[in-house]
């Protein structure tokens, strides 16, 4: 299969017409299939170095200090075959006072036995702003193991925002691990929204360390599990500096024989820091369900719509 055909299949699986994107010279993009970078288009201020490895790629993405990317960088990575391994080692550096966003589509439409690992380190420079949105699209079989790990340092006054979404197709098994260290006046806003069914297994670890004065963080997780799926969410927020502010929020909807667990840990070691947490696990709200059924939706469709709202709605942001 040609590279172009592979890319077209990847994009089709996420509902994007690649020709629309390829025609946009003002939008940067990076396209990766398995262990090969099939396409890179850069814009001023953005630098990408990538090399193929046996089972994946290693890449460094840098945004030069002061650069302001007008449009989010479009990243598409995944695998068309039904089995294989994709390991991505990523180093991201956002220079001081730079501003950049990334929209990443990760797709395994035919997965039966796929392992996808991401090992990322990020440094958000002083006064820089970086927003990352990652949407996963998996096939109907659930034969995927996804292990994304990120270690992030947010330098003074930097802003880091990440949102992970996996609500289409089967999850398979996913183990998300994000750990952010936030320095003075910095912000880390971490969110994940995942819907599991069948025997899907979801583990999410979100951690933020507020180490600088006025550092802020929100860790928000929304999960829906049905059938025999399971979800475990470990949110940890530590605050060791004055005027640090943080919030942990975990919502889980459980249907059928599914199991959900939330373990929020709040560790405050400065009397002028303030951290709150909120966790809610339960079935779909009966009044919401009956309202939608009184519009003619059957129970399954009503549950789907409620979950679509919970997982697909605009995520919480810090003030």
């Amino acid at each position: 299969m040609s590279d172009r055909s592979l890319l077209e299949q990847l994009y089709q699986s996420i509902g994007v017409n690649p020709h629309d994107l390829w025609g946009r010279l003002d939008v940067a993009r990076i396209e990766i299939h398995a262990n090969r970078v099939l396409g890179v288009h850069l814009v001023p201020g953005l630098e990408v170095e990538a090399e193929s490895r046996a089972e994946g790629i290693a890449a460094k993405i840098a945004v030069r200090p002061g650069a302001q990317l007008a449009h989010p960088v479009q990243v598409c990575f995944g695998m068309i075959p039904d089995d294989g391994v994709q390991q991505i080692e990523l180093r991201i550096e956002i220079g001081a006072d730079a501003r950049a966003g990334v929209v990443a589509h990760c797709t395994f439409p035919n997965a039966r036995n796929i392992r996808h690992e991401m090992d990322a380190t990020l440094e958000i420079g002083p006064g820089a702003e970086y927003a990352y949105f990652e949407r996963h699209v998996h096939g109907a079989e659930g034969g995927v193991l996804v292990v994304p790990k990120s270690k992030v340092v947010v330098r003074p006054g930097g802003r880091y925002q990440t949102d992970f979404e996996l609500i289409k197709g089967r999850v398979g098994r996913i183990e998300i691990d994000v750990e952010a260290t936030v320095e003075a006046h910095g912000t880390a806003d971490v969110s994940a929204r995942v819907s599991g069914r069948g025997d899907d297994a979801i583990t999410i670890r979100e951690t933020a360390h507020l180490v600088g004065e006025h550092a802020r963080s929100a860790l928000c997780t929304s999960i829906a599990v049905r059938d025999r799926a399971s979800a475990e969410v470990f949110n940890t927020l530590t605050a060791t500096a004055p005027f640090a502010r943080g919030h942990v929020d975990c919502k889980e909807i459980v249907q059928g024989e599914a199991v959900a667990r939330a373990v929020p840990i709040v560790d405050v070691r400065h009397p002028k820091a303030h951290v709150t947490h909120e966790a809610a696990i339960g079935s779909v709200d009966a009044k919401q369900l009956e309202t939608l059924m009184s519009r003619g939706l059957n129970e399954d469709d009503a549950v789907d719509l409620i979950i679509e709202g919970l997982l697909g709605g605009k995520r919480q942001r810090l003030d």
Partner: protein, 250 residues
Amino acid sequence: MNTILALRDIVLTLGGKRILDGLTIDFWQGHIHALIGPNGAGKSTTANLIMGLAGYRNFQGDLIYQGESIADWSIDRRARAGITLAWQEPARFEGLSVRRFIQAGAKDRGEARTREVLEDVGLDPDRYLDRAVDRTLSGGERKRIELAGILAMEPKLVLMDEPDSGIDVEALECIFGALRFFKQQGATVIMITHSLAVLRRAEHAFLICSGKVVNKGSVEKISQYFEQKCHSCDDRTPTLAELEDIRVGP
């Protein structure tokens, strides 16, 4: 008059208390009806039972809708047959947009119709379609959005539980406007209310007390009776002597 819905000798007991006690009513097709009565009389219970909500399904008697018993029907089956309910306090849906909420039960799910029904309840589509039906909306806004969804559904029978509860005058006018649209659509409306302003929008009223119809007829007749005889009796069941001049039945 054609009867669209008939309640036949309904007895419902909740928590050991008989809430509906032989309730028998005929609702006429295309009319706006009001159910009034003191708190605890069984008005909202009647609406919930007609809709088939959980906890209101185990009753004696029968519910006949368009000539067919619907006592065993699920909520959604009743809704697909044209029955729906506007709640006293509409549910909130985190993350669900007004557009998706309205379109969920709409007969025509097109954008034009969605915008039209929002305008019908006095809300600007450009400001509301992409907002979530959540706590950022006021109670009055949620009531109007719920009515917009019901207008889009084009139902045959609309149950409105205290449509004026918790809303301002402007929102109330929009709700009265929705009543006119329902009437134009040929829908039957059953309103549960304590408000004279709402009652006056009805064409026919039933006074319920202790789970029974104790009087029925024109709005003027029933409102007068309610004002004169029921406001002083609070929650208690009228005695036979008090009820002797009441005519119940067709």
